[in-house]
Structures are given as C-alpha cells and as structure tokens.
Amino acid sequence: MAYEMNFQPVLSRAPELIEGTIATIELSAKSIVVGLAVGLVVALGRHDGPRAVRTLATVYIEMFRNTPLLVQLFLLFFGLPFLGLRLSADEAAVIAISLNLGAYSAEIFRAGLAAISKTQVEAALALGLSKLQAMRHVVLIPALKVIYPALTGQLTLTVLGTSIASAISASELTLAGARIESSTFRSLETFLVLAAIYIAITIAFRILYALVGRLLFRRKVPPPSMRAASAFDKKEARA
C-alpha cells in the first residue's frame, strides 16, 4: 500500500470542477422547481380530482417510484426520439429528474394534506373563507410544516441523483469528474474530490432548507398528534 495520493493534477482542473458544480446546482434547482410543481398538482388531483384524474395520478406515481431513475433517463433520452421527440441531454435530464421528484413529492404532499384535520378546514369555511382561501391560509403552512423533514430529505436524494445524468452526458459535476479522471488517471483522487464537492453541495442545500423553513414557520407548530385539539377531534368524531 505504498500508493501516494496526489491531488495536484485534479485540483489544477479547478475551472472544470467549478463549472460542473454550477451545472449540477442549476440542474438540481430546475428539477426541484419543476418537480415540486408537478408533485403539488398531482397531489391535489389525487386528493379531490375526479376518478379518472385520481387513477391517472396513481399510475404516474407508482410507475415513477417503482423504476430506476437511470432507466427513466434512458427511456426519455434514447426512447423518445423513436416516437419522434428528440431531447437534448440536458433537457432529458431536467425532465426525467423532475418527473421522478414529482412522483415522490406528490406522495409527500398527500401525507401533508391528510395530516391536517378536517375540522381546521371547517373552521375556516365557517368563517366564510372559500375552499381555496382555506387551503392557502389555513392548510398550507401547517401541512408544509408536517412534511418539511420528509420533503427536504427527498430533495437531498434528488440533488445527489443528478449525478446519474452523467450517463447520458448531460452537463453536470460527475461528467466533469469523469473527463478529468480519464485524462489524469487519478481516479481515486478525482472521485474523492467529487465526493467532497457533493457533500459541500448537500450541506449548502440543507442550510438553505433550514433558512426557508425559518421564514415559512415563523414559529414552531407542534406535530398534530401532540396538539391538544386533536384529542378533541377524535372525541367529537365519536360523539
């Protein structure tokens, strides 16, 4: 084990690494925005859409949650041109990762919708709010608070999952790393550096989630099971 590590050849390619890091953050951000929007729409459709919409939403969610992201990527990138739709690698990556996140986040959003007791919505309706206003002012923040850990956990998986997009040569960090590796032959060093950068990206995103969380939830809402009112909800349901 006399191998001596030498990071110099890898680190001298810093511009490529930085470019790759930026591309990864860009790919992640786009996929998160699109994916969460898809997830929210699908969750609402599944929550109180007509039967056909609910079925469609369920099929979408199960298909994407029960097949690998890599295969979804291959299908979009290699398979779609066969049907006459040609996407660039970068486009295919954003779409595949967004659809994947959409399926997972739809499930998470659904849990949030289910966690808010019906009585909260009724109280809002009784005050004259519309269903939409009740959603916006009464359901949204407490529901988001309940699912926030699960949601941000999923976002972390999604960000790390972008590395898979290197398989179709979409521009991102792992691809940049693979290029450096194949010209420097410093495999170990290259991938250790990549790991370090990904860890830094993950930590940066986590800090961002915490900040957003602090903005959204000005104050801690205890989980619904611990709230006194929920005990009464049950009592009332039985009465």
Partner: protein, 244 residues
C-alpha cells in the same frame, strides 16, 4: 320580533341512516336557544346544516335572509353572517390570536390593515383577553382558546351565532369563564343557538330550550317550563340525573 332562523321539516341522511327525521324550529331575533339531548341525537348535525357545512335531503332553513334547501346558495355570504364555535376550538395553530381574529375579515371582507388593531381590541375586550393578542393558541389554556374562538367569530359581526358544546372539552374550572363570555354576549341581544350539556346554564341564560331525541325536536318551550315541568318521559329521564 322578527324571525332570525326558521327550520321546517329538516331531514338529513348519512347514507341510509336517517339522522334528522323532520326538525322544525323557530328562533326570533335576540332569542337564546339551548339545545339539549343525548349524544347522537342529531344536535351537531342540525347546527352544521344551519350554516351549510352539511348538505341535507329535505326541508328548508331560512336564516339571516338566506334560504337553504331551495337550490344553490351563496354559502360563503351566509357563513359570514352566521358565526360558529366548535367544541374543539379549532384555532389556527400557526397564527397568533390577533391573526386568528383578523384572518377572515382580511381575506373575505378585505378589511384594510389599518383597522385590524381596532377590531382585535374590540372583540378581545368582549371576551376579556386583551392581553393575549400576540400569544399563539398553544400558549393559552383551553378556556382562553375557546374565548378567542368566540372573539374570532364575533369579528365577522354575525347576525346569529351557533355554539356546539363549546365547554365539553374543558376542565370544570375553566368552563365558567367561557359560559360567562357567552352570557355577556346574550345580554347584548345576540341571537344564539347553543348545544350544551350545562343544564344549569341553559336554564338560566336560554330564553327557550329544545330537547332533541332520535333526530326530532321531542319537546321545546321556555326554559323554565322545560326544566321545571317536563312533559315527556324521555325528557324527564334525561334531565333528572343532570339536575342534582
């Protein structure tokens, strides 16, 4: 006196289960009606029909100038004119007391921000909680939360208020403060329908008491008569163990 609420032949089914079997009730403006009866007799369902939270199959409800049961209605306008207070308070946990109170005036009535403070002070002083403006619901006792819920409802200046067992979830020592707030409200001439298990309170505060049994108004009349001289065996059996 004019009629504030008129219910005629109200029937309500949950699936095949007939919960309200033809309820008739008339409430004059300024009346305070106590609704008593066993658990499951349909009291909550009736209240929920009155402000449109439950659809019903037959009958008619006239309230605050609206008629339910004759085609589509603007339920939102109706609900701003009919306040409802629940057993479980249902305060919004992520909003302060003041924000709970101003939510509906702000969102539904578009009340300008400059007038929020004034409104909050007005309704909170009526329930004696001026000092809790900036507290969050879980920092308050059950009795205080319920008083905030009453204030929140008052902020929409309803013409009629419905109370569904608003003290049932409270410890006995907290019940009094909520009943006091309701009694003070009654003295201002607010029209109210209260479902309650507090027989003493019903007798003292309600102008009229309604005894519901098996989805019907079994017996009704001035509270003094209902409690002092019950006519049916069912009512006697219901109130005797309650009036120790």
């Amino acid at each position: 006196m004019s009629t504030a609420l008129h219910i005629e032949g109200l029937k309500k089914y949950f699936g095949a289960h007939e919960v309200l079997k033809g309820v008739d009730l008339e409430v004059a403006s300024g009346d305070v009606i106590a609704v008593i009866g066993r658990s499951g007799s349909g009291k909550s369902t009736m209240l929920r029909c009155i402000n449109g939270l439950e659809p019903f199959q037959q009958g008619r409800i006239r309230i605050a100038g609206h008629v339910l049961g004759e085609g589509p209605q603007n339920l939102r306008v109706l609900r701003t004119e009919v306040g409802m207070v629940f057993q479980s308070y249902n305060l919004f946990p992520h909003l302060t007391v003041a924000e709970n109170i101003t939510l509906a005036p702000r969102v539904v009535r578009k009340l300008p921000r400059a007038r929020h403070d004034e409104l909050v002070d007005k309704v909170l002083s009526r329930v004696g909680l001026l000092d809790k403006k900036h507290a969050y619901p879980d920092e308050l006792s059950g009795g205080q939360q319920q008083r905030v819920a009453i204030a929140r409802s008052l902020a929409m200046e309803p013409r009629v208020m419905l109370f569904d067992e608003v003290t049932s979830a409270l410890d006995p020592e907290l019940t009094g403060e909520v009943l006091k707030a309701i009694q003070e409200l009654a003295e201002t001439g607010m029209t109210m329908v209260l479902v309650t298990h507090e027989m003493g309170f019903a007798r003292q505060v309600a102008t009229k008491t309604v005894f519901m049994h098996h989805g019907r108004v079994w017996e009704s009349g001035p509270s003094e008569e209902i409690f002092g001289n019950p006519q049916t065996d069912e009512l006697r059996a219901f109130i005797e163990p309650n009036l120790k």
